[in-house]
Amino acid sequence: MRYTEDPLFWRAGAIATTLFMSVVLAALTIDTLRQITPGGARVPSYDVINSSISYEYSPDRGEYVPAIGGEELLFGHRYTAGEAARLIAKGKLVIQSRACIDCHTFFGNGAYYAPDLTRAWLDPVWARYAGPKRADRMAKFLMDPFRLGARPMPNLNVQRDEAEAAVAYLKWMSAVDTNGFPDRFGAPGVQ
């Protein structure tokens, strides 16, 4: 009998393959978690909400990349690192409590019934408002959504403090380096 006809050969293959791939995955996981810790090159620290954020084309990388600029306060307040972390943690709780991910997508993950929110802070809909004005308009929208298109956003009883936290979350999230996703967001000439 050839060894390929022996089930134990294939059993050994299954065990070896699984173990090897699992070890590789574990090693990559350790590195990835280090790289996506807030404050690194890929994921900004939470107090980025005190700065202006834009999304610009990088010729070196051949894709759009978030750019962090000078001071642009959110709700007229300069948040310390601790305050920003607490505010954004609350924002995530708001997003989960209302199950936003079951209508919207975040980094393209979620449901497809409503727009992607990865760069919502930078959306041209809000482009006419700058800095604290934009944040305030977005918070008011969350508390009392007006109709933007054929598909209305429901009123989810978001309180003012919750709305501010959610907006802060969206601003922080817009500064995460997602390897160019979504492509050409808000680019000139693109509606």
């Binding site: 791939m21 933007l148 989810l156 492509d183």
Partner: protein
């Protein structure tokens, strides 16, 4: 019949009911797309969708659990250890699912507080069930694992298939622990969330359904144990060999490093290869038996499993897996097209095959056939093909206009949703959803009736050995 097999039948019955709930909320979800403003502020889209996708997970899990409770006592020729506790927990599980669904329907969401996380809605896709219910699932799953492992220990023996199942159950259960954390950093949240979702549906669930299909082949057509075990090892090697690092195809756009493009893209591109092997195996088995089997519905649903898996997961997945395509297909109806087809092909068909096999044996028949199962087979598969096709058209339209041309802004999204092809695709998806639902109705009718009448079966006295 062993008590475990009676429990298996209960789980399989519950899975059919959850399958129906999933379909009902799926049809409801599809109406929101074709009726703007439908039930807004009364029962929003996200509430309907949550019950639809969580219902998917629960009906399949119940089907898997039921299948294992059905096969294990036959495998070890003894009653399952701890069966009394398992029987009690079945009712606890059903009650918990019912409570969670009722809360999701009538309460829907809470404030931004831990209370909401614990008792209403955790708001993470597929694992929205509140924490108390997630703890309940861990308990049920833990007892299930104890039942399986404990029985093997008490019996002092195991088999190849059972050993693979036990080895698979442990990571499957550990991965569910991602249903609990509430992480602030979305990159980190999604990183771990994909460990749960991908390493379930593209790794541990594949091995689990492989074990269930191995048992099905043994009991349905008398396949040689050595042959199915050998094949199972081959499949585990190939599926986990490609699927574990294929996880990386979810790590292109969530803030994780760029090396995932190469790793995720390469390994997920290889994922269809073992699925082609499954198609060959299915045709070999079917052909060597000249398409004859005593239990014809189980046989044909097993065939559908192999083909559906290759088409839904393999072909539809491959289309969108390379990063240069995925940049635009990501987070569109294209994803939903692949998801619907893949889940059906990889898992839905397999659970239905076991349903028919278990019914045949429990009704003491020596083979079953009929007309109704053919109608349900045709309607369910036609329904899923139609839905997947409609969502594919909508998804490609969306990837082109919203993402590639429009830059994925709100305006690009909203204007795209009003495009004629998109709207027509949503209508087509709704219509094929109704076709699918009618196939489900026929399935339920057939499951209730088959084997009970002279026309469909050759009833035999039920053997009482092994109780």
């Amino acid at each position: 019949m062993y008590r475990s097999q009676r429990l298996g039948l209960k789980y399989l019955g519950a899975s059919v009911i959850m399958f129906g709930a999933m379909i009902a909320f799926g049809v409801l979800s599809s109406i929101y797309y074709i009726q703007p403003g439908f039930l807004v502020n009364i029962f929003n889209f996200n509430s309907a969708k949550i019950i639809h996708i969580d219902g998917l997970v629960i009906w399949l899990l119940m089907g898997f659990i039921g299948s294992v409770y059905w096969f294990v006592p036959q495998e070890l020729e003894r009653e399952v250890d701890g069966i009394g506790l398992a029987e009690l927990l079945f009712w606890v599980f059903c009650a918990a699912v019912a409570i969670v669904v009722l809360v999701l329907i009538f309460v829907q969401y809470g404030g931004a507080s831990q209370w909401s996380m614990w008792f209403i809605n955790q708001g993470r896709k597929y694992v929205e069930a509140p924490r108390w219910a997630a703890i309940g699932i861990v308990v049920v799953a833990g007892v299930f694992a104890y039942n399986v492992i404990g029985t093997a220990v008490k019996a002092g023996k195991t088999t190849g298939i059972l050993t693979v199942l036990i080895a698979d159950l442990i990571p499957l259960l550990v991965l569910y622990l991602d249903a609990f954390p509430q992480l602030t950093n979305m990159s980190q949240d999604l990183f771990w969330w994909w460990w749960l979702v991908h390493l379930w549906v593209e790794a541990t669930w594949e091995v689990l359904i492989g074990c269930i299909m191995a048992w099905t082949l043994i009991h349905m057509v008398g396949a040689s144990r050595r042959v199915v075990e050998s094949w199972l090892y081959v499949q585990v090697a190939l599926v986990l060999g490609t699927g574990i690092l294929g996880l990386g195809h979810h790590y292109f756009w969530i803030g994780t490093p760029r090396y995932w493009f190469a790793i995720g893209g390469v390994f997920s591109a290889f994922e269809p290869l073992p699925l082609l092997g499954m198609v060959v195996h299915a045709v070999y088995d079917a052909g060597s038996r000249h398409l004859q089997a005593a239990n014809r519905p189980a046989f044909y649903w097993t065939l559908a499993e192999a083909f559906g898996n290759f088409l839904g997961a393999g072909v539809f997945g491959f289309m969108m897996t390379l990063p240069q395509i995925n940049m635009y297909s990501h987070g569109t109806q294209w994803t939903a097209s692949h998801g619907h087809f893949a889940f059906w092909g990889a898992y839905g068909c397999g659970v239905i095959a076991v349903l028919y096999l278990a019914l045949e044996k429990s009704r003491g028949c020596d083979g079953i056939d009929g007309r109704a199962w053919k109608w349900s087979f045709a309607l369910l598969n036609l329904g899923i093909l139609g839905m997947a096709g409609a969502l594919l058209v909508a998804g490609i339209d969306q990837a082109f206009f919203e993402r590639a041309v429009g830059g994925s802004t709100w305006n690009a999204y909203l204007s795209m949703q009003g495009r004629p092809w998109f709207i027509e695709s949503m209508w087509a998806r709704f219509v094929f959803g109704l076709v699918f639902a009618s196939g489900y109705a026929m399935l339920v009718y057939d499951l209730l009736a088959i084997g009970k009448s002279q026309r469909g079966a050759i009833p035999q006295p039920i053997a009482t050995a092994g109780s």
